[in-house]
């Protein structure tokens, strides 16, 4: 029998998180700091709107690009938040989570051999999606010294004449790093000079704790070379609804709608109706969640300082990324031992790229009580490691 599988697909490494997930899930009374989704339930008014749409019998497909009502609200929201205006008819596509937008965005923009710059540590899907789109992913290892921000020096080192697209993963999962306007300006200049395009994954844009999120698309000359990806999963605590969107120049979005039409048809109708309510009336709920995350973030930073665990202060998403280099063991081993000895699940930094070696991703999408319990265990674990040394 012939091999049923494609070499391209089998060549893709499975997600490093997956392996950990299987071990952690089998362990009883393990506590986790390993989750990449909010601990909050979706705000009730959003859920209620979803229920209502079902009661009304709104169970049909929507148009391929998404409910017009939702696209209108998305554009108003982006105008409000990142001060960039998009045409809700031609420049906006509602997707199945931000992940779908990453996938089809890269497929639409890459020809075989085109290089995609992927700053890491970052979300696990950029590299595989680039490969699936026949592109060549080029990893840019971000530096702890720069608080894992992307700099022009980084770009200069990895840009070649074949480079076409840059992924901008900020606010960042797993580091929590954000890029301010001052950080973005030189990067934008470099992009314009080298005629690159940007896929800006702004899924954590609602979760910043030091000034609002700045989108690279809002910088001069960047709107026409940027696809902004966002969604409802993180800021609105809607992970399971699978709803994201992207906005960008019509030439790109038009092709993305075509791919989306063939692969997906349309995003879930119930989710789309619910999300309209989220964009219209949930400013307070989102603000409350942000306030909560910020308190937990401060608590974690304080606890790490007390333990003497090195960590830069991150101002975005709901992750901190402490260094464990003092223990001179691979992140993977550290995380495995922490799980086995103290039953605390964290994700090794290497799950987000090789340059995550020596770091851990710790999520604070947990109640303060859970965080206290977990950090107590982490504290006694590192104390033990220090005594061993």
């Amino acid at each position: 029998m012939r091999n049923p599988l494609s070499k391209k697909i089998t060549g893709i490494e499975p997600s490093g998180i997956r392996k950990f997930f299987d071990v952690a899930n089998e362990m009883e009374d393990a506590i986790s700091l390993g989750v990449g989704e909010p601990d909050f339930d979706t705000p009730w008014r959003i859920r209620e709107e979803g229920i209502f749409s079902l009661e009304r019998g709104r169970t049909f497909y929507t148009s391929n690009a998404g409910l017009q009502e939702l696209r209108d609200e998305i554009c108003k929201y982006l105008e409000r938040k990142i001060h960039v205006s998009y045409d809700p008819h031609k420049e906006t596509l509602v997707t199945v989570g931000g992940s779908e937008a990453i996938d089809i965005g890269l497929r639409c923009m890459l020809d075989p051999g085109d290089e995609v710059l992927v700053p890491q540590p970052s979300y696990v899907s950029y590299v595989p999606c680039a490969v699936m789109a026949d592109g060549v992913p080029v990893v840019i290892p971000l530096q702890y010294e720069n608080e894992f921000k992307l700099t022009v020096e980084d770009l200069e080192k990895y840009t070649t004449p074949k480079t076409k697209v840059l992924i901008m993963p900020f606010p960042n999962n797993p580091t929590g790093s954000i890029m301010t306007e001052e950080d973005l300006e030189p990067v934008a200049e470099f992009i314009r000079e080298h005629d690159l395009y940007v896929i800006s994954d702004e899924i954590y844009s609602e979760l910043t704790y030091k000034g609002g999120h700045v989108s690279i698309a809002s910088l001069p000359g960047m709107r026409e070379r940027t696809v902004v990806i966002n969604g409802f999963s993180k800021g609105f605590a809607m992970t399971g609804w699978r709803l994201g969107y992207c906005c960008g120049p019509e030439v790109i979005i038009e092709q993305m709608i075509k791919l989306h039409q063939f692969a997906i048809m349309c995003a879930p109708t119930t989710s789309q109706y619910a999300a309209v309510e989220g964009l219209r009336n949930c400013e307070n709920e989102v603000e409350e969640m942000r306030r909560s995350y910020n308190q937990r973030r401060r608590f974690l930073m304080h606890e790490f300082a007390r333990m003497g665990l090195e960590c830069f202060e991150p101002y975005g998403a709901f992750y901190v990324f402490p260094s464990i280099q003092e223990f001179k063991m691979p992140s993977d081993e550290f995380a495995t031992r922490l799980l086995q000895e103290e039953k605390v699940a964290v994700v090794p930094g290497t799950a987000f790229g090789e340059c995550g070696e020596g770091f851990l991703r710790i999520s604070y999408a947990y109640s303060l009580e859970d965080l206290k319990e977990a950090l107590g265990r982490v504290g006694s674990f590192i104390q033990r490691l220090r005594n061993e040394q």
């Binding site: 997930f21 952690a24 601990d39 608590f299 303060l368």
Partner: protein, 167 residues
């Protein structure tokens, strides 16, 4: 007031409202300010009666204590120059009265009352509340079940179904 002070006060109040027993040091960490600043601000707000007390939300049913809570709608004739304040005072001075609100709409005062038995509550209404000259009428409603109180859901909720590790 200084804007920063105002923000700090608001943050303190919001956090305390949800968890009044929080440790001062922890509160300072959560808000990212010094412990002395938090302590001073709280002391000031206590003095200014912005913070009026630190109460505990108790599920008396679970504690096995029989209690009845009644909501009493009271219609009254307001007094010249004093409006409703004097009548409200005559009512709220009774220790068994839990809360008194002036209400817009079809009646004037909403009185919440806690008693041991239905009889005790109705006795209060007939002997203390109704005889007040200005009271025109009362309507007593007994609470049968508290689903949510002070922003806290009082009925059991399901455990989180989140997976342990996700990207």
């Amino acid at each position: 007031m200084h804007e920063k002070k105002e923000t700090l006060r608001l943050e303190i109040l919001k956090t305390l409202e949800g968890k009044s027993r929080i440790d001062l040091g922890e509160l300072a960490v959560l808000l990212g300010v010094g412990q002395t600043d938090v302590a001073n601000e709280i002391a000031e707000m206590e003095q200014e009666k912005i913070i009026c007390g630190y109460h505990t939300l108790i599920d008396w049913d679970k504690a096995g204590v029989e209690k009845v809570t009644a909501l009493i709608e009271v219609r009254v004739t307001p007094q010249r120059n004093r409006g409703f304040d004097r009548i409200a005072e005559r009512i709220y001075n009774y220790p068994e009265v839990y809360a008194v609100y002036l209400i817009s709409g079809s009646y004037d005062l909403l009185v919440t009352l806690e008693g041991k038995t239905l009889k005790e509550v109705s006795k209060f209404v007939s002997e203390k509340l109704s005889p007040i000259d200005e009271v025109i009428s009362t309507a007593t409603h007994f609470i049968l079940k508290k689903y949510k109180d002070h922003g806290t859901v009082m009925v059991p909720r399901k455990e989180s179904e989140r997976m342990l590790v996700t990207p």
